[in-house]
Symmetry: C2
Subunit: 251 residues, 2 copies
């Protein structure tokens, strides 16, 4: 539960959070954590595994709108009381903590720092969403693929899920396609291109980054949107450390 504190900042009132956790359940692969139209009355946190937010068009086209890695919250949107406009589903066997909303509400008002952390988490998600829109709208398949992989790598690094430059990434090529707005066939060709450039090695369960400098440069990656904690930034995105102020673009 305190995994979230890695992503943002929280202090020693973590105990309050500890006490909150109601249930910790394992959820099988390809299982809906919450479905479109539902009005969630609980808050779910992904502790282990991989999940996604997605929207489906009436004719079956699907767009994956974000991935959830351990420590991410399913329903930052919960309190609104409005029905969800999208679904959340597991992409692997997961461990999920559930917290009822009333209890959390109490903790939030008692510990403003935690409330602040939630707000920060929401903003971080939005920043990622914006970057995805740029990715799909303005990068070609090769850049897009590289960008997604490096983002996922960094996000796994933040929550301590990197070993030996390898992360668990149990994604189907169809799922990658739905995240990038591509077809499965073309995802395959693009992945192969990355493989034969010696940049990554990947199969359905793992991603190994062989040339992180090159992956980053193919992606045209500017990591500032991820708000990496200093240790991770120093390790994987040294360019960020030199000067925090990025260039100002013209209109």
């Amino acid at each position: 539960m305190r995994l979230r504190s890695l992503g943002s900042l929280s202090l020693l009132d973590e105990q309050a959070l500890e006490g909150l956790t109601q249930t910790v359940a394992s959820v099988p692969d390809q299982h809906e954590l919450m479905s479109e139209g539902e009005c969630p009355d609980v808050l779910k946190v992904l502790l282990e595994g991989l999940a996604c937010r997605y929207k489906i068009l009436p004719d079956g086209r699907r767009q994956i709108v974000s991935f959830l890695v351990p420590g991410d919250v399913c329903d930052l949107e919960a309190r609104s009381g409005r029905p969800l406009d999208h679904g959340v589903a597991t992409l692997a066997p997961c461990i999920v903590a559930t917290v009822d909303w009333e209890g959390l509400e109490a903790v939030l008002s008692a510990h403003p720092t935690i409330a602040e952390a939630f707000r920060t988490a929401t903003l971080a998600d939005v920043a990622i969403l914006r970057e995805w829109l740029v990715n799909v709208g303005r990068r070609d398949a090769y850049e897009r693929m590289a960008h997604l992989l490096w983002e996922l790598f960094l996000r796994h690094a933040v929550v301590g899920r990197v070993q030996d430059n390898v992360i668990d990434l149990p994604l189907t090529q169809m799922e990658i396609a739905d995240a990038l707005g591509l077809s499965t066939v073309y995802v395959n060709k693009t992945v192969n291109r990355l493989r034969s450039s010696g940049v990554v090695a990947m199969d359905r369960r793992q991603l190994r980054v062989l040339a992180m400098e090159e992956l980053r440069s193919i992606a045209g990656f500017d990591a500032s949107y991820l708000r990496l904690p200093p240790d991770i930034a120093a390790r994987y995105e040294p360019a960020l450390m030199s000067d925090a102020r990025p260039r100002i673009g013209p209109i």
Copy 2:
């Protein structure tokens, strides 16, 4: 300023908001309201005109990531103290209200309903962002164009900016292209297709919807993500009113 209350819900402590407004300034067309890298210490609200959030890649490709219509807030992200990962610029002459952050902070803690309204506004923005990602990732140019136009029409309706099925929309085709992830040339062809279907009439300053039912159907529009107030929904999206529970999609 209370325009925002139209978009979400707020009560009679609007007076507190009234008192807050520090400056109301007109800003010329094509002017940056906030630039990437900046750490905003004020909050800006668009009162009149049209603006956009955008990100630019090093090689000049640009993606417009959202449009701001009157009543929208530029920097819901402000409090984080982090540098902005994107810019905000006017797309027309605008009127902008500026509020210093400390004052707002005070009002927010005194009036939790207002704080709640801000949170709701953030979530509404995110919902739109998700829908844009679907739009760019999974719809073709024709659907995409129709979707954007109808969304903008509805959002203008919410803030009372529709007259005679016409909205002010001072957008360049290049700006539309950057919002939809298309080229200007193709935007032109797509707009012409919509025009010659008799669905819309548009020039650089105005959009007139001639066949809203058809525009909606081309777009494959599901308005639930916009969380329309009941009166607007009844007027323009009657389908929403019959049953609030949309279909559940499979994984």
